[in-house]
């Protein structure tokens, strides 16, 4: 039996085989959609760039060369140099590490938090639900960016606080999804079976409810990542996110603002990086949604 047959087996003999088979089917379905392939490649390149930055970047991210400041794009400096003579291409490459860190940490903090709040609200219902969802709704009806700005203002500027602020403002959307999913499975017979076996609510939620919420959660998180990148870049642009000399893309655009009228490349180049990576997450998220959740497909 070939690996492919093993993966596509109609009656898998182990949980591992079932999961692997499902992953394989999702993967092949994604390959049929050109845009999601493009998105996947962009994200893959982003991750590889972040890991291999020391070897890819032709120059250091912080090394100054004042004799060569504000040089236009050339063969030596593909994206030109900034006001301190630093190579913008190298800084964009190093900046991918920061972007990836922000995106990863925000997802790691806000998705589980939202998942837990939503699952608890949906599973217990009643007052627990009303209080938790009331709280969620209040957060949801606030302008996200402004709220993040205010939080960073109170916490103090810096990349860690920016991550915390973004995570604080993005969990409510996940709580809503998790609650909706939980409500649909709460009364399913297999949940009742587990309850009859004496499983504690914690066990039911963690072992049986949460795993079923993950696919819609993954879709939503992926789609939201573009927004997270933009918010982080915005905080950096205003001067509240990553601080100089960190090569964060938003902060780099902010530095280039002064020179936008004559040395356009300083501010423009990091913007392309932001757009490409955000588009990558959009494409990937759209593709994932079409495969994992065909119901909500944008026809």
């Amino acid at each position: 039996m070939s690996t492919r047959d093993w993966l596509l087996e109609d009656s898998p003999t182990s949980r591992w085989q079932a999961n692997a088979g499902r992953a394989y089917r999702v993967f092949t379905a994604m390959l049929r959609n050109p845009l999601s392939v493009v998105g996947g490649v962009i994200i893959l390149v982003l991750i590889l760039t972040a890991i291999l930055a020391p070897w890819i970047a032709p120059y250091s991210a912080t090394g100054q060369d004042l004799a060569n400041r504000l040089a236009p794009p050339s063969e030596a400096h593909w994206m030109g140099t900034d006001e301190l003579g630093r190579d913008i291409f190298s800084r964009v490459i190093w900046g991918s590490q920061i972007t990836l860190t922000i995106v990863g940490l925000v997802a790691l903090i806000s998705a589980p938090l939202g998942l837990l709040v939503g699952a608890i609200a949906g599973y217990f219902g009643g007052w627990t639900d009303r209080v938790l969802m009331g709280f969620t709704d209040i957060f949801l009806s606030m302008p996200k960016l402004i709220l993040a700005l205010a939080f960073v203002a109170a916490l103090g500027p810096g990349i860690n606080n920016a991550i915390i602020a973004i995570a604080i403002t993005s969990w409510p959307a996940y709580a809503r999804i998790a609650r909706a999913e939980t409500l649909t499975i709460r009364n399913a017979e297999f949940i009742q079976a587990v309850q009859l076996q004496g499983a504690s609510p914690l066990r039911v939620i963690v072992q049986h409810v949460l795993p079923l919420c993950t696919s819609s959660m993954i879709i939503r998180v992926t789609l939201d990542m573009a927004g997270v990148i933009l918010t982080a870049a915005g905080l950096g642009f205003i001067g509240l996110g990553a601080q100089p000399p960190l090569p964060e893309w938003g902060a780099m655009i902010s530095r280039g603002r002064t020179f936008i009228l004559d040395q356009w490349w300083v501010a423009t180049m990091p913007g392309f990086a932001i757009i490409i990576v955000s588009l990558g997450f959009c494409f990937l998220g759209d593709g994932l949604r079409d495969v994992l959740d065909p119901k909500s497909e944008g026809k």
Binding site: I138, F139, S141, A150, A153, A154, I238, D262
Partner: protein, 357 residues
């Protein structure tokens, strides 16, 4: 920029009935209650941000060079010697009586500052939403009626760019291109320095004030300054509105009653506008409302780029000066307007849907 309102809207399908008046009254009452509760929630959050998170809120207000006496006086004046619930109560009372404290950087009451800066933001966001609606709705309809065509693909790409392009970056690129290179539009600010202060503010909206004062030259100058930032904002609302219109229209076009109309021999133009578009007008109002609220938020970044003397610029200046009263005041005002538009479009949606009549 994330001008993306967070609440998804789907057209109501289930017909509901009920007495008109009973519905109206309970809708208004429920509306007032949710707006009040959400606003209280907003206050709780700003209170939390202003008084609880900072290790020493007094220091945040008086600055670290203040003497001990000043510090103590400020501490008592701020009511920080009292328990948190009491402090919160005072905070709420102050806000509702229009007292948002003093701004450290301008030395004026935050409320006065905000009322001076707000019209500039309002003017920009309003022109922005007009651009977004005027282009976004027709584009969305065209895209849906020619699904898969070149124009549909272009609109999809525009929609995705609206998701993934930083607004401040687009503003900068626009300035470099249309102002510095092509000289098509005015630069940063609301007017050329030459005209500044020549028109006395009546409404605070320069386009209106300059016309009231009978100064067409200043009016045109204001237009050249406004067109670029408003178009940048308009682009993001266009992207969002076009995408939502497209998906609503596709949903309608796949309905049976659209086939019915075709069976009747109705021309395709009428099928699209009368049968498919009419039912989505109400959800579109909600989308436009949300998008307008999103523009107020998005203007924070745009105003920074264009040195636009609006509430967003005021907020970012305050942020960098750690001027907490001004920060929280602006947050409160933007948040309140945002919530209000959000809820109003929500209610409009329920009241205007003919299926609920």
């Amino acid at each position: 920029m994330s001008l993306e309102p967070q609440i998804a809207v789907t057209p109501v399908h289930s017909p509901s009935s009920g007495r008109k008046w009973g519905r109206g009254v309970s809708a208004v009452f429920g509306f007032a209650a949710t707006v009040f509760l959400t606003f209280l929630g907003l206050l709780a959050i700003t209170f939390f941000i202003g008084r609880v998170i900072p290790i020493d809120p007094v220091l945040a207000v008086v600055g670290d060079r203040a003497s001990n006496e000043v510090y103590e006086a400020a501490r008592v004046a701020m009511g920080l010697d009292q328990p948190l619930p009491v402090q919160f109560f005072h905070y709420v009372v102050n806000v509702f009586s229009g007292d948002l404290g003093q701004s450290v950087s301008t030395g004026r009451a935050v409320v006065d500052d905000l009322s001076r800066f707000f019209p500039a933001t309002l003017e920009m966001a309003t022109i922005g939403i007009i651009i977004g609606v005027a282009l976004g709705v027709p584009l969305g309809v065209i895209a849906a009626s020619r699904q898969g065509s070149v124009i549909d693909q272009i609109i999809r790409v525009v929609g995705l760019l609206g998701y993934s392009m930083p607004a401040f970056w687009l503003g900068l690129v626009g300035l470099a291109l249309f102002y510095a290179r092509l000289r098509w539009v005015g630069g940063p600010g609301r007017l050329d320095i030459f005209y500044d202060g020549l028109v006395s503010p009546v409404t605070g909206l320069l386009l209106v004030d300059s016309l009231l004062a009978g100064e067409p030259e200043i009016f045109w100058n204001a237009v050249t300054h406004l067109v670029l930032p408003a178009s940048v904002l308009g682009f993001f609302s266009l992207a969002y509105i076009a995408r939502m219109t497209r998906s609503f229209m596709l949903d309608q076009l796949s309905q049976e009653f659209v086939t019915t109309a075709r069976v009747k021999g109705v021309p395709e133009r009428v099928v699209i506008w009368r049968h498919a578009f009419n039912p989505i007008r109400v959800p579109l109002i909600t989308v436009i409302g949300l998008s307008y609220a999103g523009l107020l938020e998005g203007s924070v970044m745009i105003e920074t780029v264009f040195s636009w003397p609006g509430i967003g610029n005021y907020l970012t200046t305050a942020l960098l000066n750690a001027d907490m009263n001004a920060v929280l005041g602006s947050t409160l005002v933007i948040g309140a307007v945002f919530i209000f538009i959000n809820k109003v479009s929500d209610v409009l949606y329920r009241v205007l849907d003919p299926r609920a009549r």
